[in-house]
């Protein structure tokens, strides 16, 4: 009997302590002579010498952190056919965190807020079978969410939760530093979401940009993981989908359009349509043709654009800023700095194949992530400044970063123009590695993209384009021209036949030589 009453006293004391309730006027102590715990009155001076059991002593392990994602849980309950929904419980970090994100499952029951305190599954309106498999019940009310453990069919006490709310202000820590609300409405087109592009995207979403159009045709491969923002769990996925999820994991309210397209002349129409309303273009592709095509698109759409490029083995890189009508365009750079524009990182078999010969292979030498990221970070910074515009708390920085070309050097690479730079050491005067250099370059007035190339060429040759020259390449114009000029067209056929004769005559001597 006595043992039972001692045991009951100890159990009651421990139960109250676990709930955070004190046992008024009572203490629990350890009696080394009896070799057991005893619960005594606080006024009992005979127990003064006995060591007291403290709340800290009663802590055997930390309860899991429960994280509830409000938006998908509300959605799960709204979509349920009955009065409750079942979702998964994700046990992370060996039980340290329980995440309830709305994924399909049966370990968590979602219900509306009951009107009265509930002690068993019956009060929850959940069938016994579902209550027995569930570990948590989440109650969603007007005031928010709360969770309770389910122990078999008995409802336990409320557990502390962290709620990721529907209308979360993800950027409250940077608000005030600059105008994060302004970036929420901005739309950025990112073409190329490889190692550099994925980093740029991640920084822009962290800064508060709310709308993205992503273009890339590639899939995540194991070899990408050491440099890309996405990891092994994304291998095999299209990069645009993996990076889209990366954006939504930072800002679930972001709008993302993901296009799996290879940039070439045949897809440019689709890309133009997708980019029609972006505020900025970021070109992070790895080949000349796509950069030229996208440069022309930026000029055509009158959109500012940044071109990111990394040199071979990532010994350095450059960022080109194109503001149509104001700065040189990418084609201007190609014509002005042909060697610099050809120096590029060979990071994949595809890039190597594009420039290699079978008897002159090109080694695949991807650079380190740490050597690529300074270039990507500069693009992200410049992009944020461009999106914020002139009336910004960063206006002073915007006024400093004014050149169209920025050069970064990671190291003094042998065989390059930078091999003999002054060593970094404590040098503050000479050009050295690990800092940015702004380079001015004028626009090329004869540029084939942003300048008067055609008129210059025609003047140089001393000819003019005639209507029929243009009509030849315009669909519909040819039929109209043919109908209007039926008689002259037939007459013109005669000279064509006459012109064929000389060609045949030229072939005869070749045949004679072959036979000879």
């Amino acid at each position: 009997m006595k043992k039972t009453s001692e045991h009951d006293a100890i159990r009651q004391f421990m139960e109250r302590a676990a709930r955070g309730d004190a046992s008024p006027g009572r203490k629990m102590k350890y009696d080394p002579k009896l070799k057991r715990f005893v619960v005594v009155d606080e006024a009992d001076t005979t127990a003064d010498d006995l060591p007291e059991v403290t709340p800290e002593d009663l802590q055997s392990f930390a309860a899991p952190q429960v994280v509830l994602h409000e938006t998908p849980l509300r959605a799960a309950l709204a979509a349920a056919t009955g009065d409750y929904a079942l979702v998964a419980l994700e046990d992370r970090d060996e039980g340290d965190v329980w995440i309830v994100s709305g994924a399909p499952g049966n370990r968590v029951a979602i219900i509306g807020q009951p009107e009265r305190e509930v002690k068993t599954y019956r009060g929850l309106g959940i069938p016994k079978k579902d209550a027995e498999s569930a570990k948590l019940v989440v109650m969603i009310g007007d005031d928010g969410l709360q969770a309770m453990e389910l122990d078999g069919t008995r409802v336990g006490d409320p557990v502390p939760v962290r709620v990721v709310p529907s209308a979360v202000d993800l950027f409250h820590r940077t608000r005030g530093l600059y105008e994060t609300d302004a970036l929420a409405e901005k739309k950025v087109g990112v073409i190329g979401v490889g190692s550099g592009g994925s980093f740029i995207v991640r920084e822009l979403v962290k800064a508060g940009v709310g709308h993205f159009v992503l273009v890339d045709h590639d899939r995540m491969e194991i070899g990408n993981v050491c440099r890309h923002e996405c990891g092994l769990s994304d291998v095999g996925r299209l990069k645009v989908h993996a990076v889209r999820d990366l954006i939504l994991d930072r800002n679930p309210h972001a709008e993302v359009t993901a296009l799996s397209l290879k940039v070439d002349g045949s897809t440019l129409g689709q890309i133009e349509e997708a980019m029609a309303d972006v505020d900025l273009l970021i070109v992070a592709t790895d080949n000349r043709a796509s950069r030229l095509l996208l440069n022309r698109l930026a000029i055509k759409l009158d959109k500012p654009a940044f071109f990111a490029a990394v040199f071979r083995r990532a010994y350095g890189g450059q960022v080109l800023r194109v503001i149509p009508g104001l700065t040189p365009c990418y084609q201007c750079f190609v014509d002005a700095l042909p060697e610099a524009m050809e120096d590029q990182e060979i990071s994949s078999p595809e890039t190597a194949d594009a420039i290699a010969y079978s008897d002159r292979p090109v080694a695949i030498e991807p650079g380190l992530s740490t050597d690529i990221l300074p270039v990507a970070l500069q693009v992200a910074k410049l992009s944020i400044l461009e999106l914020l515009g002139p009336d910004t708390t960063f206006a002073h920085l915007r006024d400093e970063l004014v050149t169209p070309l920025f050069l970064w050097l990671n190291r003094r690479e042998p065989g390059t123009d930078y091999e003999h730079l002054v060593a970094f050491e404590n040098n503050v005067d000479g050009m050295s590695v690990l800092r940015w250099y702004g380079i001015y370059l004028p626009r090329n007035t004869a540029c084939p993209t942003c300048g008067a190339y055609e008129s210059g060429m025609l003047e140089h040759v001393g000819v003019e384009v005639e209507d029929e020259d243009v009509a030849a390449f315009r669909a519909g114009a040819q039929d109209a021209t043919a109908k209007a000029n039926k008689a002259p067209a037939k007459a013109n056929k005669a000279p064509a036949k006459a012109n064929k004769a000389p060609a045949k005559a030229n072939k005869a001597p070749a045949k004679a030589k072959a036979q000879g």
Binding site: D264, L292, P338, I355, Y357, L458, F473, Q478, A503
Partner: protein, 150 residues
Amino acid sequence: MSWDQHQQYRLAMERRILRERLPDFRFFDPLRDTFVSGFWDSSQGNTYRIVVTIPPGFPDECPSCFIADPSPLVGHDQPMNDYGNSHRMHTWQAESAHPDWTKICTYKPASWSASHSIEKVVHKAMLWVEAFEAHKESGRDIADFLLDMD
């Protein structure tokens, strides 16, 4: 093929310049699989047919250049197409659409610029032909008679 407004004018310019500078070369199929073609006699008096195919992204995409006649083109000791992607012979792998045409390297796509005209591509093809004939005569690589782009 649907050329946009700028491409129409650029191609019109190319057409006009060819008519002026290389009248034996002209555009064919201007609204579909557009190409420039013409016959040219080398300094040895041999006639070659040079074809330059115009990609949908021209002038920002690099045109491809072929020797379409003689076909197949035979070098000093083997058909030129047997060399595939060859720096020594400045050739590319033959294309499936024209397996007997020899695809020659006038510009590498990685080095292409929209400021290069079709006339220039044809001139480079002519220079390749001269280098080919030197190879055919001597057995030496075509690369011995042309400058590297790298």
